[in-house]
Symmetry: C2
Subunit: 392 residues, 2 copies
């Protein structure tokens, strides 16, 4: 196993009606002027935004609002948010929504707290040295951004999607009321469950260092999400299942399921980022569409982990060769994806890139990761292209 750091300072307030505590939490962390950042109209239509502003009004906390964060959140809105914060002397960010609003808020936080162009941090040119304090009211269980150090932004020019990881952006608090996720379309719920599982699977399929306890936690988390994703597919209003998935989403990406390993593989994510930049597909669905092809390309190079996954997560029969067991696990995962109506290839995802577009995605991905990357297997541009092609 490898040495590791673990830092999850986010104060989680989990349960029914917890959004009522937003003002006291902002005060606890010193916020006096808040930017409320959200996405589309759903938080307006559901009445959540009004509930939040009413609570802040009652507590005498002043605020400005900025909506419009879209899936694969855009750099232009980040610039707009930075400008607004500076103009209004905002000292605290409140993201109300899912990963898009949170990631966009983190980028705004970097932009306000650091000099220069915020895109530098996403373009790996510089590292942020600070971030405005951030609180979250989570409405979508998926990205885990509410407890993670991660933020992913898309630059419209060239449709470049890039991530920036820094502890400075970890939320001060995260309000998680599973009821707030109940109005989500079924497709988005399934995408969220996929993303959550993938955050742990990216950490699981590694050739560099593992801890038994990390594996045990990861496998338990994956089994729980799988089971509850199937419950939600049939019964989307099931509170307990919503809660299981929501908490799993945070634990899956706050670092817990990667302690002691080499940092994880992450190539399915990196390749999906290219897809998401180009086609604006739902992130979870994009991951599901690529994963099987990735897994079949790399599994022989990481056989002990794929076998363990097959037995302890997918609970397939323990007979035959290690390769047979590993392949059975990959098939079982794809069966699971299909059972919650997630795509297992690009066609099912609804996109049909041309040969040139495939090459372009592979090239941009390779450039983005600095040439070649991966832990289950190191992938270069040619390998990425092969996986993209296999996922057609």
């Amino acid at each position: 196993m490898f040495d590791f750091k673990y830092f999850t300072p986010t104060k989680v307030v989990f349960g029914k009606n917890t959004e009522a505590k937003v003002a006291e939490l902002i005060e606890e962390f010193g916020g006096t002027k808040v930017l409320i950042h959200y996405g589309g109209g759903s938080v307006v239509r559901s009445g959540l935004l009004k509930k939040v502003t009413d609570t802040l009004d009652a507590a005498g906390i002043s605020y400005v609002t900025l909506g419009g964060a879209v899936p694969n959140p855009r750099l232009s809105l980040v610039y707009e948010g930075i400008k607004l914060c500076k103009k209004e002397n905002v000292d605290f960010l409140l993201a109300v929504g899912g990963g898009s609003a949170i990631d966009s808020a983190k980028a705004i936080g970097y932009g306000v707290a650091n000099e220069g162009d915020v895109w530098d941090f996403y373009d790996y040119k510089r590292k942020p040295a600070a971030c405005l304090p951030l609180g979250v009211i989570l409405t979508i269980a998926a990205t885990g951004s509410e407890m993670s150090d991660s933020s992913v932004i898309t630059k419209e020019e060239g449709l470049v999607k890039r991530g920036c990881n820094s502890d400075y952006s970890r939320a001060k608090f995260a309000i998680m009321n599973p009821e707030l996720t109940m109005t989500l379309p079924d497709y988005q719920t399934a995408c969220g469950c996929t993303d959550i599982m993938m955050h742990t699977m990216e950490r699981y399929f590694t050739n560099g260092g593992n801890m038994e306890i990390t594996d045990a936690l990861a496998e338990g988390l994956l089994r729980t999400v799988k089971k509850n994703a199937l419950i939600l597919y049939k019964d989307p209003k099931n509170y307990d299942a919503r809660a299981e998935v929501m908490w799993a989403g945070s634990l899956s990406h706050n670092g817990l399921t990667g302690c002691g390993n080499d940092g994880g593989d992450w190539m399915t994510h990196k390749m999906e980022h290219e897809l998401g930049g180009l086609y604006d597909v739902a992130h979870g669905a994009g991951l599901a569409a690529i994963w099987g092809s990735w897994a079949r390309y790399v599994y022989k190079n990481c056989l002990h982990r794929f076998k363990k996954f097959a037995l302890n997560v997918m609970e397939v029969e323990n007979t035959g060769t290690d390769e047979e067991i590993a392949l059975r696990g990959i098939e079982a995962m794809e069966d699971f994806y299909r059972s919650i109506e997630m795509p297992t290839n690009l066609r099912e995802l609804g996109v049909q890139p041309t040969e040139d577009e495939l090459k372009d995605m592979a090239h941009k991905c390779a450039v983005g990761v600095g040439g070649a990357k991966g832990s289950a297997k190191v992938l270069d541009e040619a390998a990425m292209l092969e996986i993209f092609k296999a996922s057609m």
Copy 2:
């Protein structure tokens, strides 16, 4: 399931030679004058204390030292530490050791940062409103105090052992180098493993609210500690096993394995505190000596959880009635204790309380918990006495 809060701000730096980072971590959290608090001579003999002071000297951080924290740490030393900190204008506490040094440091931190008698917080008369910032270099995997909100202190007068829980006392950082635990006597290693498992088991055996993901994490943690405790029994210098146990110790008591339940049972701990106050036995051994009697007294009232524990943690055969499976799980746990030379009753623990002493412990325990308490089963003074008697 119940609503919950989860707050684990401690920055964990885990791995070989991580103690070399102590000065930069103290600086990161603003410490300028440090009290280094430790226990017996082992951190002196091992050279760890010198390594720490050399590192602080090199970084130009001034400090004072206070040794002498004993198992079941004493209030008199806490008072001495408070006096020293005030005299020396200490603004940061560094505990070097295990639970005794950490708990004692937390109490000192409360005493410095709040007016009045610090014992009030342990006697449930007042709640602390602050604590000096604390860092930890952990040398014993057991109490989980390095990430928990908990501190347990014994008042010499009347040998009263009481705990105080507050987020203010959560460590800013915890340096965890598994190699530092290798010089521990085998008995203390086994006691530590027991304490670690009990922190999760106290949270597991409940009648009030459960989450599947919490159960999955708890069961995975328990299986990991059980397996690695047996490895360490035969091979105490096994780095990987030391690391598994050390990280499990933190995760077992930072709140993770209790999310969504009613707060846990904790009666084995409460009863052991009386034993520890009176006899100064090792905490883990005291827990092991009481647990079986407690479990047999309560299991019928919490049958579904004892069955689940038997199957998913102790991995006993799934045949017969629920009661038979549950009892098989209790027996398997006791067998495990015996296999690492932990006691399963007071005689094996080496103490023989008189009838009056048993009554006195039950009475003090009942007073301490406010009359009656427990989740697997609510225990009053008479029930506590019965369990103490059964554990003879």
